[in-house]
Symmetry: C2
Subunit: 310 residues, 2 copies
């Protein structure tokens, strides 16, 4: 029988997964609270079929992919549980601990058939009309299985992502949320704040008009979906505020160095940043040129407990 | 007689100007303290001729373009003055007030044949080997003439930049330094600080490996030349620290909103940033589609005193 996947939440991520699965002749049934997304998904050939309810979508599915914002998860889980679906599940949430908490609230535990996942891919565009099949190609997908997660379930979800061209790494939930606070959530927060500060200045049109490379990069980040980012900032608040405080401290030090006019110290700090950036860039580039080594190194990294190499 | 331009400082900017001028059959004579840059410039066909001294470069030139870091300006000006050159001059410094101070220190005043200029163009690469002719095409060049600056001199420098494909705007020195602190210097400072904070974390290789779009954009900014940015931060310290303090205040507010878990307020702030960004993007896009309107609007903006529309 033809394999069937249910996608709950048909936006950029859900839609792009759907496109990749359909290419593999897997049947894709979608549900979204927004009926227009479902109509658009059918029209664009992203999905095979739309469901009128979550129950209809998940019944008979071999895998359920939950691709809704983290804060919309609770009601989705209640409906999945209510209809008795007990098969393989995964999600795409940018923060993992809050997702587990939603599962515990609904199921009393995290089911062993649920594999928490997070594709590190996105675009400033959103919605199913922005979906494209190669979105995950050569992008990382992080899976954060728990001790009780079924190993076969992990293997199946890993293969699904690999079939879409992604590079899969496993890490712990805590480690995931802390690393993402640093690499993604903090930069987004800083960019939103910068655009807010600058657009509050009197001559803001001019500011954007004269925007040099610096501002333009920040500005692109701040064009991301506010609902999604509110949810991320709120739900990963602990790790985010921790790294924000560290950053604010470092920024304050840099401020003192500039105010004191200490050119040598300032040069040393800027050089250190550039050197770190160049170092990591070149390491990562080498890794991409040696895919064999790459996957060995990543599994090594993935198995390392958080903070082990501090 | 064939027109001759002297370029003092043969890096990315000086070299790119040289390429554009040679294309127009203008003779380009270059001087740089680094002899290798001069050799490379000749080898790559960027310049017509290398000079052994500033005196040799400027003698007989119709225009002298000073393209050295702001903090290297003083010694260059002394040599230009010493050899008696009194013709047309311009510069490309990212901060304008300190350049004027260097002129006043050497000449006792800002000569009326000097037109302060700043092309808003660059690359993470630097040096003459990174130079390319189209660097300034469709980029802004800001000129900040003083009350005593010769109008014909301004016109000639404006035409020079227009011949390289740039869009020229005029504004006051104070306004320039304040706008640039906001659009360029602050973003660079924030990016350097972020890379420094993150590379100080224990699992930094992993952080860069999992870097989502957010960090990648910041990381590119922090790859810029530390010497150049030290000079910029040091020499534009007043306007830079002013906008940094405003930013830190806004960031602190955002932090409180997240810590308090106030999702509505957070959503409003993120939406405001996105709306501002989208608003200005679309205004600027319209402007680019209507070049006639564009130049009218820019001259209007350019003539507006700083803070007039606050």
């Amino acid at each position: 029988m033809r394999k069937r996947v249910a996608i709950i939440g048909l936006g950029l991520i859900g839609g792009s997964i759907a496109l990749g699965l359909r290419r593999q002749k897997i049947e894709v049934v979608a549900f979204d609270r927004n009926k227009e997304s479902l109509i658009e998904g059918l029209r664009l050939g992203v999905t095979d079929r739309s469901a009128d309810s979550i129950a209809e979508a998940v019944t008979g599915a071999n895998l359920v992919i939950i691709a809704v914002p983290v804060l919309a998860m609770a009601s989705v889980l209640k409906e999945i549980k209510a209809c008795g679906y007990a098969g393989l599940m995964t999600d795409v949430g940018s923060v993992k601990q809050p997702v587990l908490e939603e599962f515990i609230a609904v199921y009393g535990e995290v089911p062993d058939q649920f594999v928490p996942g997070h594709p590190i891919a996105g675009s400033e565009k959103h919605g199913v009309s922005a979906a494209y099949e190669s979105l995950f190609r050569q992008h990382r997908v992080l899976l954060t299985p728990l001790d009780n997660t079924d190993q076969i379930a992990v293997q199946e979800v890993r293969q699904l992502w690999q079939s879409l061209g992604a590079e899969v790494s496993l890490l712990t939930v805590e480690h995931h949320d802390s690393v993402l606070a640093q690499t993604s959530h903090l930069p987004h927060l800083l960019a939103y704040a910068l655009i807010d500060t600058l657009s509050g200045q009197g001559d803001s049109l001019e500011i954007f008009e004269y925007a040099a490379g610096g501002l333009r990069d920040f500005s692109r980040i701040a064009a991301s979906d506010p609902t999604m980012w509110r949810d991320i900032f709120m739900s990963n608040r602990g790790p985010l505020l921790a790294i924000l405080d560290q950053y604010s401290q470092d920024l304050l030090e840099l401020r003192s160095v500039i105010e004191a006019g200490d050119g040598n110290e300032l040069f040393d700090r800027l050089s250190r940043s550039k050197a770190a950036r160049d170092h990591f860039s070149s390491l990562l580039q080498q890794r991409h040129e040696q895919p064999q080594l790459s996957s060995e190194l990543s599994s090594e990294l993935a198995l390392k407990a958080p903070g082990e190499d501090k």
